[in-house]
Amino acid sequence: MSTIAQKKGFGATIWDYLTTVDHKKIAILYFIAGGFFFLVGGLEAVFIRIQLAVPNNDFVSAGAYNEILTMHGTTMIFLAAMPLLIGFMNAVMPLQIGARDVAFPFVNAVGFWLFFFGGIFLNLSWFLGGAPDAGWTSYASLALHSKGHGVDFYVLGLQISGIGTLIGGINFLVTIINMRAPGMTYMRMPLFTWTTFVASALILFAFPPLTVGLTLMMFDRLFGANFFDVTMGGNTVIWEHLFWIFGHPEVYILILPAFGIFSEIFPIFSRKRLFGYSSMVFATVLIGFLGFMVWAHHMFTTGLGPVANAIFAVATMAIGVPTGIKIFNWLFTMWEGSIKFTTPMYWAFAFIPTFLMGGVTGVMLAAASADYQYHDTYFVVAHFHYVIVGGVVFGIFAGIHLWWPKMFGTMLNETLGKITFWFFFIGFHLTFFIQHFLGLWGMPRRVFTYLPGQGFETANMISSVGAGFMSIAVIIMLLNVVLTSVKNVKVGNDPWGDGRTLEWAIPSPPPFYNFKQLPLVRGLDAYWIEKMEGKKGMTPAEPLGDIHMPNSSFIPFVIALGLFIAAFGAMYHVDKVSWALPVMIIGLLITFGSLFTRSVKDDHGFHIHKEELQEEKGAKA
């Protein structure tokens, strides 16, 4: 199959990706789009740091700064970090549970295209009159006050991409519930699969409040409703609650899959099974559960009263316990192990102290009465970049290096990888460590500039220099990707030599049907068990037979495109332009029409016949 793909022309390849329903190709789409948005968000971060390098700077104007700031946060969270993680889930989770695809391949593609069009829509704001400027939290009073269409782009763009994420989450859940290979019980699932499961559950429950919040905001801004208009009886605190009921679980949606990635890396490169597997699973579930009971810690200064603040403070602190369990389990996985410091291991190893620092400042923030001081200062900025960059971004880098050979059949260059690591690591700490102190010294966050003479100059300069280091790292990383793709040295099933889970048992990249025969899973670290018994691969759980595969389809793209078009109509509707309403209706017709087509046109997929599979076996070996 892969050889066939290579012979295809460029146009055919593009068409292949536009219509694909294969989870591995969708994963690549997620990486391309998420990676692109990461660069965009990173560039915005660099602009932020340039503007703040010296006091009274006028690199960008005040209004533009707020747009950059908002788009940086929104892009990074919704369009970079989460999609990249979903990319890993797509690429790896079905392989880890021994499945041939996800439960709903078609829906999987719909999810991607919704995310993609939502992200594009949001970013088009730059060219269509200005980006959103009310912060990634878009608090209602400011959001309603904001002129132009910036906030409308935010509301509609996130709504579209949010729906994509939501159906993606359901898809992963069903895949894990129904499609595990024979013998793969829940307590034999690799940790990355577990964290995918819990993160997907969080998506399922956290995104509806956001959907509602965004809908209310859309109604207020575009259709004359009064949810947040105080003079009409509205209440802006509703938005804060809805946003954070979503927003806090969201940060665990980000960190749990990253934890999952690290939980794969430590055992592989320590050659030791994960220490305390069941307590890791337990901690993951507990973090997910507690994640829904702490949202108001973002609202300590809103004035909810001491009772609410105290309850949420204590609940928040409680999350430190399961997270601590994880940290110690990772450390003891390495304890008495045989550690090899590869690039993925560099990232994973450095993650521990880095994330730890972010985690403990989180607990400091949880102390409600002290948070009155920290809140909305650079201390908070430091906290969340330590956990997000030190946890999630490190995790993404680690995962990319770890699974690159699995996805593309070739290794990223280790030396370049390590150089990337050092630049990023040093730059990261330079940038964000000092920000703790900036916050304590009285520097609020989201300021487009600061006046001289308040003692903020040196620290901001240091911070900006650090961002420069990180940029160099990212550029080297891009270079690495290009160089290794050009060289394209092929590798086998288990390029790191110590793979433990099912994905390492099949070729790199895997054939499009993944497993010729579903493997029989006999315990945790299924592949490792077989290897230790001297076997080359997995024992099949079924005789070789026909494999049922879904057909490719262009409909997912069209469904998302319809909403994308409709969003423009909805947005310009307030300007009373004549074409707005028709455009909105046409867009919705496209979406619902294609949904309708999909539901009345039966699509039973196709079968790969036993004979073809046997032939391929000969060809591969």
Binding site: L173, I177, A201, L204, F205, P209, N235, V237, I238, H241, I245, F292, M293, A296, L304, G305, A308
Partner: protein, 111 residues
Amino acid sequence: MTNQPLSSGNPRVDLEYRRKKSAEEMRYQVISFALMIFLTLVAFAAVAMKGFTAWFTVPFIILLAAVQVVFQLFYFMHMSHKGHEAPTLFLFSGLFVGLTAILAFSTIIWW
């Protein structure tokens, strides 16, 4: 992946058994429907009779609604049947999250 539920080896016996089973279940469902209608009537009546204080009526009708929903979920939507472990878990988790939100909105949005 083929149909293997409730097999006794003899298709005729199976079928009859199944028929009876579902007829019986249908009877339960009609009963629960009757109960639901009854509960609804009680709730409407409680409101129609202006005699009670809101402190009584509100919790009372909410209780009635909750009971009714249990009927819906467990009888009409078969949530008590086996094979519904994941649905049950996720529905109740959703309910938990939702109720937390409702609790918050009715207490700490205070004006």
